[in-house]
């Protein structure tokens, strides 16, 4: 195992050296860093050209310049010496500084989208695999491929047009027209029809229910002017809580496990009491406090499950813990919504909350909730754009993998010994279906930092992609090499991690040294 890792690491270093050399040569050949000075007609043009030539060592042939750069980069390897020298950009800013900032922005932009894409994509894949060749399967497949094939700059511009500009105009006067209610309800009916199973009659009833449900909600939202001052309130939280309790129990323990169900429901009850109890505390929230509260919440849930006991304590604890977490999340969401009117009326926001640019409103001043909403309104659109496009990959992979697993002998065995469908799917199939995805996920996390060049461009995020493309435009070699170095190392490391994780998850795969 150790020899294997060492061998892989040595190979990685060699690949990195070779690739960085090629990238350096390509960058050097991509343009003339002096172009703007050549067209200038200031009298000291020659001095300026000389200065920039000295700054970027342009008088040295590119292959030799590469080794100068490599020498600086190699000093980054000395730990704790802070001697890292990746050069500086044409504007004289150190590349290490540029990289640190750009990475932060990119991680902010891409993390949410990637996590959501993984969660939603895998869920969709599993569900469609279980309902193979149903209307739902075809529907999801169609949508996944549709989004997959859309160019992201176009999706992003459309999202801005309707999701930001149009939606903000709507928010100024949030009256939902009758046409909008009817159309949305019809869409809802169609989705319910696809999701429901059974005879045509049953599915039509489901569609009718879906129509009525959506219409009622929209009507209610319209009457109460919900969009101006959104919120759940204790009633909705209670209903949602009970729903969460049933859903989580169904997935983790099965509804037949009464102790688990009761633990989850008791957690919901405690959550409702806590909803009123923590409101004054939440007014003073800080990120650290939210983290502590989240931990406490989960612990309370687990404790409830523990004391409810039963023949399988673990199941109750799982169900109650998860329910507690989601309940806490709902309360958190509600608290954010309570701050929405304050945010929206803030004179920096000027009543147009959904932003099209950047990661935060400049000079916005507010408490935890206001700043949280600000981040949300800025990340909403880019996250949707990125997520829609990467959904397809995850859902198709997990669908294929799940289908394969469901036809395995051990699934038949599990069924044959009389296990319930829930246990077969959740315990025997689902876990094994995730193994091939580990590679994909590990690799995607490595690719996170590489950024989403076009998305960053359209949403004016100054992340890694922007740093790269901007530097390429100015033929500014050092930032390009900095970006390449980071993304290259991450790609290689996570490739290795993916291989190792795979062998840990699947005992059939053994790493050969």
């Amino acid at each position: 195992m150790v020899t294997y890792i060492v061998r892989r690491l040595v190979a990685a270093v060699l690949i990195l050296l070779g690739a960085s050399f090629i990238v350096y040569m390509l960058t050097a050949a991509s343009g003339d860093p002096l172009a703007d000075l050549r067209e200038s007609n200031v009298p000291n043009r020659d001095t300026l050209i000389q200065l920039r030539t000295d700054l970027l060592s342009l008088d040295v042939p590119a292959p030799i310049r590469y080794f100068e750069w490599l020498g600086g980069a190699a000093s980054c390897l000395i730990p704790f010496a802070a001697t890292c020298d990746l050069g500086s950009s044409i504007a004289g800013i150190e590349v290490t500084q540029l990289l640190a900032r750009a990475m932060g922005q990119t991680i902010l932009l891409v993390t949410g989208a990637t996590v959501l894409a993984i969660l939603i994509g895998i869920s969709l894949g599993i569900i469609t695999a279980l309902r193979q060749y149903s209307g739902l399967d075809y529907g999801v497949t169609f949508m996944a491929f549709l989004f997959f094939s859309l160019p992201i700059f176009w999706v992003a511009v459309l999202l801005k047009e309707y999701g930001a500009i149009g939606f903000n105009t709507f928010l100024a006067d949030p009256n939902i027209s009758l046409t909008a209610i009817v159309i949305t309800s019809l869409v809802s009916a169609f989705i319910w029809y696809l999701v429901a199973r059974g005879t045509l009659k049953k599915r039509l009833i489901a569609a009718a229910a879906g129509f009525a449900f959506a219409a009622a909600i929209l009507f209610f939202l319209d009457i109460t002017q919900w969009f101006s001052s959104p919120g759940f309130g204790p009633v909705v939280i209670a209903i949602a809580g009970v729903g969460i309790a049933y859903g989580i129990t169904l997935l983790t323990a099965g509804l037949k496990n009464r102790k688990a169900l009761y633990s989850a429901l008791i957690t919901v009850g405690i959550g409702l009491i806590a909803y009123f109890a923590v409101q004054p505390l939440l007014d003073l929230a800080t990120p650290l406090m939210i983290v502590i509260l989240a931990i406490v919440t989960v612990l309370v849930g687990v404790a409830v499950g523990y004391f409810m006991g039963g023949y399988d304590r673990r199941q109750s604890m799982n169900a109650a813990g998860l329910t507690a977490f989601l309940m806490g999340f709902t309360i958190l969401l509600d608290r954010f919504m309570q701050s929405w009117p304050l945010y929206s009326d803030n004179n920096r926001i000027r009543g147009r909350p959904i932003a099209t640019l950047g990661s935060s409103t400049p000079n916005l001043d507010g408490d935890f909730w206001i700043m949280g909403i600000d981040t949300f309104t800025h990340l909403l659109l880019p996250t949707i754009a990125l997520m829609l496009i990467s959904l397809a990959g995850y859902s198709r992979y997990s669908r294929a993998s799940m289908l394969e697993i469901m036809n395995q002998d051990y699934i038949r065995t599990a069924r044959a010994k009389g296990l319930g469908e829930r246990t077969v799917v959740m315990r025997h199939a689902f876990r094994n279906a995730l193994i091939p995805l580990a590679t994909l996920v590990a690799f995607d996390i490595g690719g996170l930092i590489g950024g989403a060049i076009i998305t960053e461009q359209v949403f004016a995020f100054s992340g890694m992609g922007q740093l790269f493309i901007g530097a390429l435009g100015r033929v500014d070699p050092n930032p390009i090499m900095g970006v390449f170095l980071i993304t290259g190392i991450l790609a290689l490391v996570f490739n290795l991690v993916a291989d190792l994780v795979y062998s840990v998850l699947d005992p059939r795969v053994r790493v050969k040294a």
């Binding site: 991509s30 003339d32 172009a35 050549r38 067209e39 200038s40 007609n41 200031v42 009298p43 000291n44 020659d46 001095t47 300026l48 920039r52 700054l55 044409i90 504007a91 004289g92 800013i93 500084q97 900032r101 922005q105 511009v157 047009e161 930001a164 500009i165 903000n168 505390l281 007014d283 003073l284 929230a285 800080t286 650290l288 406090m289 502590i292 509260l293 701050s339 304050l342 009326d345 803030n346 004179n347 920096r348 000027r350 147009r352 932003a355 099209t356 640019l357 950047g358 990661s359 400049p362 000079n363 507010g366 408490d367 909730w369 206001i370 461009q457 359209v458 004016a460 100054s462 033929v475």
Partner: protein, 592 residues
Amino acid sequence: MRFGRTSKAVGVAAIAALALSACASTDSGEGNSDPDASGDTGASSGGVVSVAEVNPFTSFNSDSATGNVDINGKVSYLTKSGFNYINDQLEVVPREEFGSYEVVSEDPLTVTYTVNEGVAWSDGEPIDGGDLLFSWAVSSGYFDDADAEAETGTTYFAAASTAGLDLSLLPELGEDGRSITIEYTEPYADWEIAYGVIDTPAHVVATQAGLADEDALIELIQNTPEGDPEDPQERPELQSVADVWNTAFDTTTLPDDPAMYLSSGPYIVDAMVPDQSMTLVKNEDYNWGPETQLDEITIRYIGDATAQVQGLQNGDVDVIQPQASADTLASLEALDGVNIFEGDELSFDHLDLNYSGVFEDENVRKAFMMTIPRDAIVESTIRQLDPEADHRDSHIFDVGTPGYEAATPVNGSEMYDEVDIEGATELLDGATPEVRIMYSVDNPNRVDAYTLIAESAEQAGFVVVDGGLPGNEWGAALGTGTYDAVIFGWVSTGVGVTGVPQLYGCGSASNFSGFCDEEAQAAMDELIVTTDEAEQQELQTIVDTRLFDTGYGLPLFQSIGINAASDSIEGVGFSPTQEGIWWNFWEWTVAE
């Protein structure tokens, strides 16, 4: 000791409560009760404006070679005052509230600059003799003893431009301590824009460089001998001052030390988010210039033109300066409540012919010029942005200036208004010269121009060879004689005349085509020592006419810029200067 279950639970709860209260925010929900705490002063009086810029801010020293990026210059324009500024008509306007300047002697040209009393940096330190002298020291290259060929000596202050002041002697400071007298060794036509107070306060540079104070810096400048490339010297003290000036002001975050971003103008930087935005607020002490209306200006860096337009539409920004394109213009025109500002920028594309090789004969040059379809070129490039746009008819004057209006009817450009294939064929008299045209294949406008020119010239009998080069090579090929004609662009400074001999003087560095004409040279020699504007214009017209008469080539078109602003912002206007839309920022107001 044993605890019961209840007491354990109480204990845990108590500890949890303690931990939570410890990490609670201390401002007790102030943000809640007072949502617009930060900005309500803005809303109640002058208002707040958010402006999109393409490039991110990189330096508080826009006079240095590395800091000389458009955005840095614009921030400097907002936060620093000077003796004059350039308006949208490309006229130099003195700022009398800041200081005054007068020519005390024409021969030798001597100018005295005096800063008014009470004009100060935002830390209270007055702008005085030290600043004036240091500004000169930096912008004159006086101490430089670098010799590029021998690779000896040092360029101390890496100034973006040393135009004019490189011809000046070590100036004298006035007795009032806030005036300076600069003497030029030769008359210099553009003296009015040659000297100004630079971005960086002398007292800050002095202390940063380890000198005792501003006076020590004055002494250092006055006592250090002029640099001599023949005899380079080590000057460590000056070097440390230069190092501070060259690099210490480069930053993308707000420096911890307020001295690094002092203001002497209407606004002062209040906050910076690297690569995203910058906020300027009023400089409370400022009263030496036009009174500004806006309380706060936010600059946001948005590279993408579509993103700028949609940002304007969504109210994220109020003023935008996107890269001009037909698409951008169309999407702006589709918006309500937006004012669009279009105008000529200071760069222009032109076709130059070599005065050698196949074009040695003036008639061949003229024949080639007759075939250039300038209307078709304009049609395929800038007319999409502005239906009224026309080709440029002067090598020297920018479209729309008084000089341009006066020169174009008489400079001989009329001859080439229309394509004249017949005339060209006649001039060629049966010859079929082979012409290699060089241009950048990465610039679509120039590719279009080349295609149209080649097509038209071949009708007259020219054999056109495509000499297009990639974007990284064409610049280096200029002036190497590997082509006969070249299509490229110049960026003019808009003001001043010293650029003329640099481009068209016999043997000067940027004269790539080998143009050398006695009459034009005489006019240029006189031009750079003439300070009277009317005379300058006359001399420039002579050069312009000679360029057309001798078949230098043809100017093609001047680029067009597009800016736009929400109609809630009043007083905004286009300007071709480097400051662009900002040129009259003190006139901007937010309509209620």
